[in-house]
């Protein structure tokens, strides 16, 4: 699986880890990763440390997630390499996400 989901109950947090190429092929799996949860959490962490490539479809999928998750719940984009961080910053995703 290119997407794994881990729930950290004590910290009220979900960690969604994406592996390899983050693109349109993960559309359904990525959506399922946050909609299949039985409850909502305070923080959602997208672990991108294993993402090698990210296209504009993936950016769209992240925006769609942001719309689906009510504020004030936070979404953190964590561990992106410089190439991917640059893509996120060019599109000013810092306005909608915590980028770490």
């Amino acid at each position: 699986m290119s997407i794994t989901v881990a729930v950290d109950e004590p910290n009220d947090c979900v960690i969604i880890r994406v592996l390899g190429s983050f693109d349109f092929s993960l559309f359904n799996d990525f959506r399922a990763a946050y909609t299949d949860l039985s409850t909502t959490y305070e923080r959602y962490i997208i672990d991108m440390s294993q993402v090698e490539y990210l296209d504009s479809a993936a950016l769209g999928m992240l925006l769609s997630m942001r719309n689906a998750i009510d504020l004030p719940a936070q979404i953190e984009l964590k561990g992106a390499n410089d190439f991917i961080k640059n893509i996120l910053m060019i599109s000013r995703f810092d306005k909608r996400f915590e980028i770490q």
């Binding site: 769209g60 925006l63 000013r92 306005k95």
Partner: protein
């Protein structure tokens, strides 16, 4: 599932029927080869059991005939024989048999063999079904991409033709990705430019392009301020696109004196090559169009200035992410060097042609994954 059995020996016919029916199969039994041939055509079995008779050549001929009649259909043939010599087995397999069981056989073993073959048949059927479905969808997507190209070409056709002041290159990839490049001179002599990159591929990517084009050409006619146009485009896309789609882009106003005002969202830096070889940039500072609600949209513009002979070059990420035969991306640095040298050329069309050629040479034999858009404006 259907099983056809041809065997002169009634005992084996009964055993085979028994186990085939246990597996829920419809069974057709024949005792003669001629009848088996016509049953094969009419009954269309999924698997065939052939009892090889002592007239060996007749048996091989039957196997040949059945294999030929099954055509593209996967129909395993299992031979049963009490002449289980290597030579006979060899001929059976060469004539089209898929398995061989020597008589007399253990009934339990026969049952297991039958179940194994059934499993393979199921797998093959599933594969055929998926393959057919995929072929169907592939054809459909190819038609959609063709249609998207058609729509986009129509839009581009309204844009300004190449000259010593404007050069637009669009190299379409096999899978169309929704790059849009529009340039038009207004009645007051100022130029309006929009270079956009829609999320996604194919038809969905082109849907947003139609109203964007309309808004762009209306703004040219109405001398609309670009901050107002940017806000309008954002609103249009926010309304019509689903939340996972947007459009990165530069919206640029260039006055007759080379004064530039621009709005940029989600695009790589655009480059300015000064006549003296120095480089400058347009930076996109906003989120792409179609994401932020009208209340949050930021229409703040940036400014720059072109002097006579300076060139502004806007490239899509298709250029920066162009891969060579070793899978290496062209990248920012090479793009910068290329533009710095190529646009030293006084003739803009020649400069553009040279740039296209360098990109094509870099790509070599590898497939172009993304559309490539390259817009050059000279003051």
């Amino acid at each position: 599932m259907k099983l056809l059995c041809v065997d002169i020996d009634a005992v084996y016919r009964d055993i085979i029927s028994l186990y085939a029916e246990k597996e829920g199969m419809a069974v057709k039994i024949e005792s003669e080869f001629d009848a088996a041939r016509s049953s094969f055509r009419e009954f269309m079995p999924d698997i065939v059991i052939v009892g090889v008779v002592s007239e060996l050549e007749q048996s091989f001929a039957l196997l040949h005939a059945l294999k030929a009649a099954s055509g593209d259909r996967f129909t395993p043939i299992i031979c049963l024989s009490d002449h289980a010599t290597n030579a006979v087995m060899d001929r059976c397999f060469q004539s089209g048999a898929d398995d061989f069981i020597s008589k007399p056989f253990n009934e339990g073993l026969f049952h297991i063999r039958l179940k194994t073959h059934l499993r393979h048949i199921h797998l093959m059927k599933e594969m055929y079904r998926k393959n057919k479905a995929l072929t169907y969808y592939q054809t459909m997507i190819e038609r959609e991409h063709e249609m998207a190209h058609h729509v986009l070409d129509h839009i581009q056709g309204r844009s300004e033709k190449n000259s010593q002041y404007v050069a637009i290159t669009r190299l379409s990839a096999a899978s169309f990705n929704g790059d849009l490049a529009l340039v038009k001179t207004r009645s007051d002599g100022a130029r309006l430019v929009f270079v956009g990159d829609f999320t996604g591929h194919g038809l969905p990517a082109s849907i947003g392009a139609l109203p964007i084009m309309q808004a762009f050409f209306d703004a040219v006619d109405d001398l609309l301020k670009i901050e107002v146009l940017a806000e309008k485009m954002n609103r249009i896309l926010l309304n019509i696109l689903p939340d996972y789609m947007f459009c990165a882009g530069y919206l640029i106003y260039m006055g007759r004196d080379g004064d530039i005002l621009y709005w940029g969202g989600g695009m790589p830096n655009a480059l300015i090559r000064r006549t003296n070889g120095e480089m400058d940039y347009l930076r996109s500072t906003h989120m792409p169009l179609g994401i932020l609600p009208a209340s949050e949209f930021e229409g703040k513009l940036e400014a720059n200035q072109l002097s006579t002979g300076d060139t502004l070059i806007i490239v899509s990420d298709g250029v920066l992410e162009l891969k060579n035969s070793e899978g290496l991306m062209f990248g920012d640095e090479k793009a910068l060097q290329l533009i710095q040298t190529a646009y030293a050329e006084k003739d803009l069309i020649k400069a553009q042609y040279h740039t296209e050629k360098v990109l094509a040479d870099y790509r070599g034999e590898s497939a172009q994954l993304d559309d490539i858009t390259l817009v050059a404006l000279r003051c």
